[in-house]
Amino acid sequence: MQTPIYMDNHATTPVDPRVLEAMLPYFTKVFGNAASRNHSFGWEAEKAVDNARKQIADLIGATPKEIIFTSGATESNNLAIKGVAEMYAERGNHIITSATEHKAVLDTCKRLEKQGCRVTYLPVQRDGRIDLEMLEEAITDKTILISIMYANNEIGVIQPIAEIGKLAHARKILFHTDAVQATGKVPVNVQTDNIDLLSLSGHKIYGPKGVGALYVRRKNPRVQIAAQMDGGGHERGMRSGTLNVTGIVGLGKACELCNQEMPAESKRLAYLRDKLKEGILSQLDECYINGSMEHRLPHNINISFAYVEGESLLMGINDVAVSSGSACTSATLEPSYVLKALGVGEDLAHTSIRFGIGRFNTEEEVDYVIKRVVETVMRLRELSPLYDMAKEGIDLSKVSWAAD
């Protein structure tokens, strides 16, 4: 076993060697522009792109023509939401999303609000899922789009996607989902789930960074989006720019591998995740799991270690790469807005750690991480005045703190 151990697979993943191998010829040998129609260099590149389109479509139950290549999920989310808002402006200006979305969705919606759209940010319940009744109540005759993420990047909680899709279609509202964390990890099907637009990204599924895709439904209904970049009219006019052929080949291969290996892989990851969770919880008291365990990605666990500040914990387990919802680790100096939306108190948000187990983590690594986390939390609790007070039976919520 080698350290440091990478267990932050929601942030990004390493490229699978089989993906890299598939990509390599397209840097130097098959380097043509996929839009070049008059020579074999172009045809070869186009063939590779078409193959990738099929690999991606197969993973999510779509058809190849419904796949639009982008630079990643940030762009896919922007294109989907802004593209729909602009294209369907005559029909309405209301968008429904949720409080725990990725910033690529939230900040896109905020910009649209400045431009005259109305946006409803649905709260989530204690388990991290939206309330379907609240969603239904939020719908107005001006609602054109519902954008709810498939699975959350911090807590791994999976939303009731099929129910949302059913509701959206019954009300003739388009449904977009940011499925970055879910595609390739759990079965995703745009047909059975009534999804109209879906964002995915290469680097979260053992593919390269800087490439992603947007699924845009072509039938029942035929979805149209206004392009957000002007240029050569690639991707059926929806996204201009010379295609990133190597990246696209990598994304396609990554999807193919996920598709083939998902049944076995998700079982293995769930086993490792459960082992990690049990290993930690059986040795430490006052640990709290954030988000639903029932509706959750198999490789995610997010735990608050009461009385131990997250950044100090990360510092203690410095040969293990994970991330924290503590303010000290964020650029904004605010604790995680996702945990806040779940109703997790700021005191506990500061103590949260996200573990994202990946394809290349081993059981030995999981055992090591358990040991490091347990010993570090114990050491830091010895240092924590809050742990002392709690052990004395003092109710910390009743203390009047001399904060500045």
């Binding site: 500040e309 703190w401 001399a402 904060a403 500045d404």
Partner: protein, 138 residues
């Protein structure tokens, strides 16, 4: 963010971790910060009544590595100083000793506040002891 050598050293080997008897008349206790803000420091000092020298100091801190290091350093510095000398320690001294980056300056401020709070507590105890039987300026 990379941590300075000194922050790492205090984090890995914190000095003077522990608790003094808060009911001891010569012990002052200062607790500053709040769990919602992500930092709470408890700093305690024990004063020799005759010499006014701080003979012992202990801390416990909930907070990031820099907060732990700042309070650890504070206990190290106040030990052996008189109460008045300890009051002269400035947060900026802690910043430069630990090479704290700007986002961590609040940790040093909290450590300075903790020293002041502990001394205020000690002085209040002493005043209560000496002052209460007699009128203040008799």
């Amino acid at each position: 963010m990379a941590y300075s050598e000194k922050v790492l050293d205090h984090y890995n080997k914190p000095r003077n971790v522990g608790t003094l008897d808060k009911n001891d008349p010569n012990v002052g206790t200062g607790m500053v910060g709040a769990p919602e803000c992500g930092d709470v420091m408890r700093l305690q000092l024990k004063v020799n009544e005759e010499t006014q020298i701080i003979e012992d100091a202990k801390f416990k801190t909930f907070g990031c590595g820099s907060a732990i290091a700042s309070s650890s350093l504070a206990t190290e510095w106040i030990k052996g100083k008189t109460v008045d000398e300890a009051l002269e320690i400035k947060n900026t001294d802690i910043v430069s000793e630990l090479s704290l980056p700007p986002v961590k300056i609040h940790c040093s401020v909290l450590a300075e506040d903790a020293i002041h709070a502990a001394i205020t507590d000690y002085k209040a105890k002493r005043a209560a002891r000496e002052g209460s039987p007699q009128p203040a300026n008799a």
